[in-house]
């Protein structure tokens, strides 16, 4: 450890899409609930992010809802939701006790549905809206708004008109050019882009010859997807000026640093909490230790600090002719 810096001298705060966060680490939607309050103090987190709320009551997908994959997990939970009144009356009060800002994740089957839900949830106790326009399980065959810049532009514009709260838009990795989608979100008023979500995938059970998931297809998360989403964060951060929040396979502080270097302003941790329930607080501690060791006084100095020489300019045409 350096003799030059003490833990108190590391400024861990970051400004993300209209919010000042104590540190850049927060949960990914769908992997966070009151159970973790028995594992660590929620006030240690940069922000709290709810499971996705829908207006309609949703039972969720048929079982099995998860299957293991090498270094990852495929899930098709299906966004079970008890609706808006339940959230306001029974869930929101649980989070009122914490200083960490509460980000409410929402989803809807239409752009109008997104907008009306955002308006209804723009209430005291909610610090920001995260529009989950990317969940691959929501619509038939895994289609989602964030697969196209046009649909993203439309839903974001309507959301922007519906809420004065900071608006984060959660993009899907399951699209041809995510930077174009991120640009559409920025142009239509998003305050931040969450990049990304699970990668549409599948597994088949060799005993039964049936799909391993009740929903046939699901979303892959965990360390297996980190290099892919890291690349997408890098592409999005170069394309837009609003903050990018990295989300994909982060399970250690080293992963978080990579995301910050690639251009993320903050990170979301999801599947890692299933393996180590205190993963987020461990990442916060280790991220601070990294800053001390490297004599970095502000964690925000890491954002976008990846060194890419002019001569190394990215050329993906040879690896992906589609682009």
């Amino acid at each position: 450890m350096s003799a030059l810096m003490t833990p108190e001298q590391v400024d861990m705060s970051v400004r993300v899409g209209g919010l000042m966060l104590r540190n850049p680490v927060m949960p990914a939607s769908g992997t966070f609930a009151e159970g973790l309050a028995q594992v660590f103090d929620f006030n240690r987190l940069g922000a709290l992010v709810t499971k996705t709320i829908t207006r309609e009551l949703r039972a969720g997908n048929p079982l099995p809802r998860v299957v293991e994959s090498p270094s990852g997990l495929i899930n098709a939970i299906g966004i079970p939701s008890k609706g808006v009144p339940y959230f306001i009356n029974d869930v929101l009060p649980l989070y009122a006790a914490y200083e960490a800002p509460l980000v409410v994740s929402i989803s809807a089957p239409t752009a109008e549905g997104f907008a009306s839900l955002a308006a209804e949830l723009s209430i005291p106790g909610v610090a920001a809206i995260e529009a989950n326009i990317s969940c691959p399980n929501i619509e038939e065959d895994g289609k989602a708004f964030a697969m196209s810049p046009q649909a993203t532009e439309n839903v974001t514009r309507q959301l922007r008109a519906a809420t004065g709260l900071p608006l984060w838009v959660k993009l899907t990795p399951n699209t041809g050019n995510i930077a174009d989608v991120a640009k559409a979100a920025e142009a239509s008023g998003a305050d931040a882009a969450v990049v990304a979500n699970t990668i549409l995938s599948m597994a088949i059970n060799l005993k039964t010859f049936r799909p391993s998931l009740g929903n046939v297809m699901g979303g892959l998360s965990g360390p297996a997807i980190k290099p892919i989403v890291l690349r997408q964060v890098f592409q999005c951060a170069r394309a837009i000026n609003i903050p990018v929040i990295g989300c994909g396979g982060i399970s250690t502080a080293a992963d978080a640093v990579e995301y910050l270097l690639a251009g993320a302003t903050a990170v979301q941790v999801g599947t890692a909490s299933f393996i180590q329930p205190a993963a987020m607080t461990t990442i916060i501690d280790d991220l601070k230790a990294f800053c001390i060791q490297r004599e970095i006084s502000r964690v925000s100095d890491l954002i976008g600090a990846v060194v890419v020489e002019e001569a190394d300019e990215v050329d993906v045409s040879w690896v992906d002719p589609v682009q």
Binding site: G35, L36, V39, V66, G72, N75, P80, I275, D286, A289
Partner: protein, 278 residues
């Protein structure tokens, strides 16, 4: 590094669920299928109650990979010596990994988790009805009942007599043990019902505690309904997080005529037997 500012700011805060590396102090084969594992752990883990469970981060067996933790019900706890016991069947990649652990190794365990059994102070005698791996989950009831002066009759079911477990454990706590097996053709629902009706007629069954058999669940539900008795059941389901986050382990329950989805890991794994759907 531990960031001191956080430690001081949250000094009042203490976790009740921990993930820690526990030391293996004993690991033996009970029979061809089952292993008995004893670990030394911290105070929180060693405060686990009957019916609660842990999420074990199993070692990777040679040539195989697991990603998630594996849920494992508590077979025994010793708070004074800070020990937790597990009894498990070697069945899949997770338990094959567990089977490689040697005394002196460590095992990353997370818990205690879930809602365990409740022993109503008014209970005088209970029937414990378990089958297969369910016997491990029910075993801690033996000691808990003895400490509360509750009489126990344990009906233990298995495919064969050599696969019956926990007989000595139940007997050592003063329980009467009745064994039924498939190979002896005594494990069918009709015979178990006959045994339970006899217990009820002798006023030796105020409540049922069960795990491991849908057929035996139905028998007990019918008898509980007929005689106005209560019961609890420990249920299993594939889990990912084990702490109520992911909603992958849901089951449907009949709550006063309404079908309600509950998380086995967080709302259970022990539930009101009368709400359980086989």
């Amino acid at each position: 590094m531990n960031s001191l500012d956080h430690v001081s700011r949250t000094a009042h805060w203490k976790p009740t669920i921990v993930a820690e590396r526990a030391l293996i102090v004993a690991h033996t084969a009970v029979n061809g299928e089952y292993r008995h594992l004893i670990v030394e752990c911290g105070d929180e883990a060693a405060s686990a109650l009957p019916g609660q469970f842990f999420q074990l981060l199993c070692p990777q067996p040679a040539g195989e990979q697991s990603f998630l933790r594996r849920p494992m019900s508590v077979y025994g706890v010793d708070p004074a010596r800070r020990r937790v016991e597990f009894l498990y069947k070697v069945a899949g990649v997770g338990t094959r990994g567990l089977d490689t652990l040697k005394v002196g190794d460590t095992l990353d365990l997370m818990g205690p988790l879930g809602v365990g059994f409740t022993l109503d102070p008014g209970l005088r005698n209970i029937a414990v009805v378990g089958r297969g791996a369910g016997l491990a989950t029910l075993a801690p009831l033996a000691g808990a009942c003895r400490a509360r002066g509750i009489g126990v009759t344990a009906i233990l079911s298995a495919r064969r007599p050599d696969l019956l477990m926990s007989i000595e454990l139940f007997e050592s706590h003063g329980a009467e043990v009745i064994t039924v097996t498939d190979s002896e053709q005594t494990s069918g629902p009709a015979n178990v019902e006959r045994i339970l009706r006899h217990l009820i007629s002798q006023d030796r069954c105020d409540a049922f505690f069960t795990c491991g058999s849908s057929r035996l669940l139905r028998v007990q539900q019918r008898l509980a309904h007929e005689f106005g008795l209560s019961g609890e059941i420990a249920m299993e389901q594939q889990m990912a997080c084990g702490i109520g986050l992911c909603h992958c382990c849901v089951r449907d329950f009949n709550v006063k005529g309404e079908i309600v989805s509950k998380r086995v890991c967080w709302d259970g794994p022990v539930f009101d037997m009368m709400q359980a759907l086989p």
